[in-house]
Each structure stands twice: as C-alpha cells, then as structure tokens.
C-alpha cells in the first residue's frame, strides 16, 4: 500500500454516488490516473473513495450537430471516435497530445476536466501550498515559478490547469452536465472552474457530491476544417504543456465571422483569449491582423521571476496557430 488507507465503495447509480460522495473527505474514482498519483504523493488524503467507473456514462454520440461525451468515456475512445475525428478534430488533436497511450486508455473525460492543477509545490507534501494546506503559503510565488501561470493568479496561488481537452472544449464553448442534490444542471465549461482568489483549495464551482455526467458541444461544426491545437512542451510526447493554444475560426467571403481561442499552461483554468478573438472578428486573416491578435493575447500577462518566457511563447503560439489556419485552403 502506498498512501494512507481509505474506505472504498462502488456507486450503484448517480444518486448513490452523489450521496456517498457528499460526506467530507470523499473522492470520486473514475480512471484513477490523477487520484492515485495524488494519493500516493500525499497531496490528496481521501477518507473514502467512491468508485463510479462502472456507471453507464461512457457513451460518445453525435446527434443533430450536437456532440455528447459521457463523463466516463475514455480519452482514447473519444479521440478515436469517427464523429469526433470528422466533426471535432480539435478535440481529438488535444486528447492525442495528452499523456501516453496507457493513460489515455484509463483517463476519462470528467476526470480529465477535474484533474488538479499542476504545480510542484502542490504535489510535494514537504512544500508550502495554500491549495493543499490552506494558510501554509504559496511556495511557487517566491520560489521556482517556471511552470506558473501568467493570468488569473492571486497572492495565494499561481498554479496552472493542465488539461489539453479542457482548452479545446473552452474554445468550443462546451457545456458540462452536472448531477447534484437538486437534480441535473448544465454549466458552461468556463463556469465550471473558478479563479484561486483567497481560497485556491476550491478549484471548481461544484459542491461536494456533485458529479459531472457529461459534456456537450453544440453548433461547433462551423469550425470543422479551420481549427487546430498547438501544444508546446519540454519534450515531444508525454509531457504537460508549457503553453498550448486551441483555435477555431469561421471564415466566410474572406472575413473572419467568428473566432474562438483558448490557451493552456498559462492560467489556473483554460484561458479564453477574448481580446484576440475581438481583434480577429470581422477582419481578413492577413499578417497584420494576425500580428495584432497575437500581441493582445499577452497584453495583461503578469509573469513571475521564472516564467517570463511564457509571454513570448504564448504570443508566438497564437501567431503560429493563426498562420496555420490561414494557410489552409
């Protein structure tokens, strides 16, 4: 046994899951790839693990232009699904840039969205971290900050969210289906997450026991053929993003009708680049527009001692994705 012990129970259905997981200290187990690492390293100490992996929430469907991803769909199944590849290649690209073949066979859509932020201070129980131990301080703020965020940080926390899938879904205005005490509700992916503020231990707006049951992407096929995911990392594969950008454009008669861009590795949540979107909308995708759109992407960046290079990296990543999309017929 690696970490401290916990109780284990298998959820019979979503109601049972919610009730069991509402107890303080309970954690959901789906693919387990994040929870087990955090438990072994002492960053998470669940008293009870509620196994939801057998609930029937694994379907991927594309009906009337709307994509539904079951919360328990495996990442590899989502990326290989014919409708995802045909209509939402951005999602498949982002997933295939994530983790390794083994992990993608285990990790689920819901678990991927809810993975804890990547920060060496959070994942090492010897170090100060307000997220792991509220009030203990943020080690990264004055320490090793190469991985830290550029946007949305607070004096309490500068960690980044590491999901590639969430960046793609943020760009596609995805909605998350949540099941809780009041029944089912839908929230936009952007509202699923919260900024750290003074309470970085709360990463999402879910209440204890609330369960993600699925993700929906509507009306995003207009971007098919004009979307791309660029992930810049320290090695070519099986590594988290230093900076990533998901971009989707709708171009008609030479003009950008709508633009959706989100960045990963630069904020505590998938970071929509709204100023960039505004700088693109209504214009032709020429080099002047691209340069201006890339510049505003980093306008409000607040780098720390070691992560200033991410500012240039993000600017250039936006340049690159827009050039890539512009070069497509």
């Amino acid at each position: 046994m690696s970490g401290h012990s916990f109780q284990y129970a298998r959820a019979a259905d979503v109601h049972d899951a919610r009730i069991q997981a509402s107890t303080p200290g309970a954690a959901y187990l789906a693919g387990g790839t994040d929870l087990l690492q955090l438990w072994k390293s002492g960053a998470m100490t669940p008293t009870a693990v509620v196994d939801i992996s057998r609930l029937p929430l694994g379907d991927v469907e594309f009906v009337d232009g709307q994509l539904s991803l079951g919360a328990l769909a495996r990442l590899s199944d989502v990326a290989a699904h014919p409708d995802v590849r045909r209509h939402h290649p951005l999602i498949a690209e982002a997933i295939l840039a994530s983790a390794s073949g083994q992990i993608r066979n285990m990790a689920t859509v819901g678990g991927n969205l809810l993975q804890r932020t990547r920060c060496p201070y959070f994942r090492n129980e010897q170090l100060a971290c307000n997220k792991r131990k509220p009030g203990s301080g943020c080690g990264a703020l004055s320490g090793e900050s190469r991985q830290a965020a550029l946007f949305g940080t607070s004096p309490s926390c500068v960690a980044t969210h590491a999901s590639d899938l969430a960046v793609a879904l943020a760009a596609l205005d995805a909605e998350v289906e949540v099941f809780g005490a009041e029944g089912a509700r839908r929230v936009s992916l952007r509202d699923l997450y919260r900024l750290p503020g003074a309470t970085p231990e709360h990463e999402t707006n879910l209440v204890p026991g609330e369960l993600i049951t699925g993700v929906r992407v509507s009306n995003a096929t207009r971007f098919t053929g004009r979307s791309t995911y660029l992930k810049i990392r320290d090695r070519a594969s099986f590594e988290f993003a230093v900076v990533s950008v998901a971009a989707a454009l709708q171009i008609e008669n030479g003009k950008i009708l709508s633009a959706r861009l989100a960045a990963g590795g630069v904020a505590p949540l998938p970071w929509r680049l709204e100023r960039t979107e505004a700088a693109l909308t209504g214009r032709a995708l020429d080099s002047q527009t691209i340069a201006a759109a890339a510049e505003v992407a980093v306008a409000h960046a607040r780098p720390l001692a070691d992560n200033g290079f991410k500012v240039a990296l993000l600017r250039n990543a936006v340049l690159r994705v827009l050039q890539t999309l512009g070069s497509r017929p």
Binding site: M1, Q20, G32, T33, L36, A99, G101, I103, M106
Partner: protein
C-alpha cells in the same frame, strides 16, 4: 454498497480465474506482484510515468500502478507471463532479442505489453511508434532498437 477496507476480488489473468481478498487501497500492480506472485510486471516509478507496470486490461494497455485492484474486479488482465512461452517466444519478444532492444531488461516486460497493444493500433510509420511508445521509459536508452523491433513486427 457500504464502504469496506478489504474486498473480495476476482480477476481473469492470462485466461485463468483468480479469486482473492485484497485491501481496497491495493493497486493492481501490487496485487499481481505481492499477492499472486506474478513478478513479471515491474514496479518502476509507481506514479504512472515509466510504464514498467504496463499490462492489458480487456486487451487495452494500462498502467497497473494507477489502477486500484478493487476497481478492476471481474476484468480480464494480460501480463507478460501470458505472452509467449519459454520454448516459443512471441514474435515481438524474438524481435526484441534480434534487435538488441534491451540492456538491463527491467523495463522490457512493460515495453513488450505496451508494444503489443500499439501493434493492434496499427502504427503507420516510425514516428507513430515513437509517439505511441512515449509512455514507456528505458533508463538504458535502448529506444532506437525498441522502435526497430516493433517496426519489424509491424511490417514497417
């Protein structure tokens, strides 16, 4: 189901049924090695990074160090002990030897299990093999030979 600290588990491993009781915190890796005495599956980082613990669950490669045994109850698992035989190596094992795709050999069971699953995914070229094998580290750095061995079996 009410919470429990120990749980009866049934696994079909390499075609044979195993029933036993395990702590709910045990990983599939620890159960294979410590409880069932199947030490072919290796423990490297125990954190999902190195791939030495790769096994197949329902034919798909996973990292057994990140799988709770309790959560695997009822599943069909293939380990390196279920691949080839001492007198008749699997094609991939023979290719690993032919291409000198190992030095110390500690990562090799995981490499073989991962590559078996990758072959099912039909890699199109050498780059797909490199990318597809990125979840398996080799401390001795036998990567070029590992890729060559897999490429030969894939017919590339």
């Amino acid at each position: 189901m009410s919470p429990a600290s120990s749980i009866p588990i049934s696994l079909k491993i390499n075609g044979r049924k195993h029933g036993f009781s395990a702590a709910v915190c045990d990983t599939l890796l620890d159960v294979l090695r410590e409880k069932l005495g199947m030490a072919g599956t290796k423990k490297g980082c125990d954190m999902g990074a190195c791939g030495a613990c790769t096994v197949l669950a329902e034919g798909r490669r996973i990292k057994s160090c990140l799988a709770l045994a309790a959560s695997c109850d009822g599943r069909s698992i293939t380990t390196i002990e279920g691949v080839g035989a001492t007198d008749k190596l699997h094609l991939l094992q023979a290719a690993f030897i032919r291409h000198d795709a190992l030095q110390c050999g500690y990562c090799t069971p995981g490499q073989i299990m991962s590559a078996l699953a990758l072959l099912d995914e039909k890699p199109a070229d050498l780059e797909s093999i490199r990318e597809g094998m990125s979840g398996n580290l080799c401390r001795c750095g036998a990567y070029p030979n590992i890729v060559a061995a897999i490429a030969e079996v894939a017919g590339l």
